[in-house]
Symmetry: C2
Subunit: 340 residues, 2 copies
DNA sequence: CCATTTTGTGGGAGCGTTCCCATGAAAATA
DNA sequence: TATTTTCATGGGAACGCTCCCACAAAATGG
């Protein structure tokens, strides 16, 4: 049944030396005679020997693997973050175990368990929009496994984080609409459970205040990020006695959905209603009109987060330094808010 | 330094029983007295015990992990395939190790090594566009590790595959353009090293032949799928003495890029030139005009591939049954080829 | 009531490494 | 030449688990 694997013992026997010597030759230990090493290397090659990470991991009690938990995979944002993280991990010789929580709290908890069971050396995580209980993160802390949050971070737990300047980004996005001469700027916000939703909302409000515009409650809608609902809220906004003449959406998928709905309703963008998103996702340049958006350095987020995690792993202090890295966003102006 | 992990031995000692019994209790072995099991379970819970997969894997010589190697991560296609695969893997209690080859042969080889070293129980793979040497796949065969190809498959190696009806899809796509009354239909094809490129090219040609149209060589361009080059080829096509009035692109990213270039050139789509893509990627519905495309059941590809792989893993015959599952494509008509 | 089966448990090898310690030979030093 | 140092190697425990085998106590049967 069980196919035999080529082990260092096989090599040792053929060469009539001990497995210790083979191990040393293979790992590049200095105190091995060069002809011995040579012979081992050659035979290993010839026998298709592959070091068994399972054994190495067990022996060293570390898996040389980092876990990444993301809420979803469909929009381009998370895949690109993962690319960035993987680059860094690869360079450092780490494998990457990826799982997506599907925006579901239960799945996130289950994924965390899997990571734990697989003894990952650290975890990169962006929470689901539902996550309000952080017990499953505490376990990592108790076990001394580094955790780095990115994008959707958790502020009730001391840990390194990588975020963008959500407040400032939202501020600038809103200001951009104000300077365009827009009078009634609506905001389609994310759920208050997410820190980024709150920050972006704040930036939006402060921009209005700075320019002495009223903050109008009926123009602010907080929703749970399930895109199907965008249609309902847009229709609500358009049906107001004085509808908005601009919309700042919490993220690009939301903004894109909004554009679709507004076009369906026969309104012109940006004349009747201008739109700004947040992220610069893949679709933002494709949709007509192009979506003005606050670009996030997506790949860089992944790189920085991975680097931070690796740093934590290598400094084996048991306390996590709660470093927060804030990356800059950049306004990209496209047709959805262009002055014509 | 090394933090102590809670092991079954810790539990055993506290309870004054042997580790065998603890192991049995934890794994649900029948011959354990129920009060013993109860006690073990409770203590395990209380002590934050997490089974160490590293040890279990080594002991059982299997990792309960499947590997997935994809060429890239940016277009929506592969992430969605992965989602599908992960669903199936999760259900079966398998973890997923993902790596992307970045469309580079060397990286693909390196990734394969990592998979091997981590003793994955099987691998799902879609090759890079450069891969012409299959030695790194043979290793899996020699070691008896199941391999399932999807999308970009390899025909020089006997293995299960999951593909879509590329020939038929291309045939229908081309026929659609013909029925639209288009006379000179160009084809921007993929590299001949990829089976899907060849099949799609064949379908295109046969559709022309069926409708007694000439196959014009100057209208057929095979390129290496690096999107930056699309611009060059489109310009070449438009500069022909009699330029094409339709374009069938090998995939959606190519088609989308083509639309952008053609719009830049000031031509009207679909009146002057109609376009059809292949895949129904995320961007296809967003771009203006919407891209007519042959939709692939993307998520299903992942599910079927993972299922096939799991089947192979569980039937422990050493020969791979070279089952090929062909999934259906479906023509989705949008603005880029609509009769107005 | 003794022989036999069942049930629950303990002991220990094995999975493939690494790494520490011991050992003998060769080389360097006194 | 005697003694210490270096070098290359071997032996074996450890990593945390599973699983086979053995064994005692309890249950069953004639």
């Amino acid at each position: 049944m069980k196919r035999h694997q080529v082990t260092i013992i096989d090599i040792a026997q053929k060469l009539n030396i001990s497995k210790s010597t083979v191990s040393r030759a293979l790992t590049g230990h200095p105190s091995v005679r060069s002809d011995t090493r040579q012979a081992v290397m050659e035979l290993a090659q010839k026998m298709d020997y592959q070091r068994n990470m399972l054994a190495i991991n067990l022996s060293s009690s570390q898996s040389k693997t980092i876990g990444i938990i993301v809420p979803e995979f469909v929009t381009s944002f998370f895949p690109i973050v993962i690319m960035g993280a993987q680059e860094i991990a690869d360079q450092a010789g780490y494998s990457v175990l990826i799982s997506q929580s599907n925006e579901t709290y239960e799945t996130e908890v289950a994924n965390a368990k899997v990571m734990l069971a697989n003894r990952v050396d650290g975890v990169l995580i962006s929470m689901t929009r539902e996550t309000k209980n952080y017990e499953h993160f505490d376990v990592f802390k108790r076990k001394g496994i580094p955790l780095v949050f990115f994008n959707r971070v958790c502020h009730d737990i001391e840990t390194p984080k990588v975020v963008v300047d959500d407040y400032e980004g939202a501020f600038k996005a809103t200001e951009h609409l104000i300077l365009l001469g827009k009078q009634r700027i609506a905001h389609l916000a994310g759920p208050p459970s997410l820190y980024i939703s709150r920050k972006r909302l704040e930036g939006y409000k402060d921009a209005l205040r700075k320019h002495r515009r009223p903050v109008i409650d009926e123009l602010i809608i907080s929703y749970d990020l399930t895109l199907e609902k965008v249609k309902i809220y847009i229709k609500y906004l358009l049906d107001l006695s004085t509808p908005p003449d601009a919309l700042f959406a919490v993220n690009d998928p939301t903004a894109i959905e909004a554009i679709k709905v507004i076009k369906e309703q026969g309104l012109s963008i940006p004349e009747q209603i201008a739109i700004v998103g947040f992220s610069n996702d893949y679709g933002s340049a494709l949709i007509e009109p192009g979506l003005t958006t606050m670009a996030q350095p997506t790949r860089e987020i992944g790189q920085v987060a991975a680097q931070l995690l690796l740093d934590q792993i290598h400094t084996d202090s048991s306390v996590w330094k709660p470093i927060t890295r804030v990356l800059k966003t950049e306004l990209i102006i496209r047709g959805s808010s262009q002055r014509i």
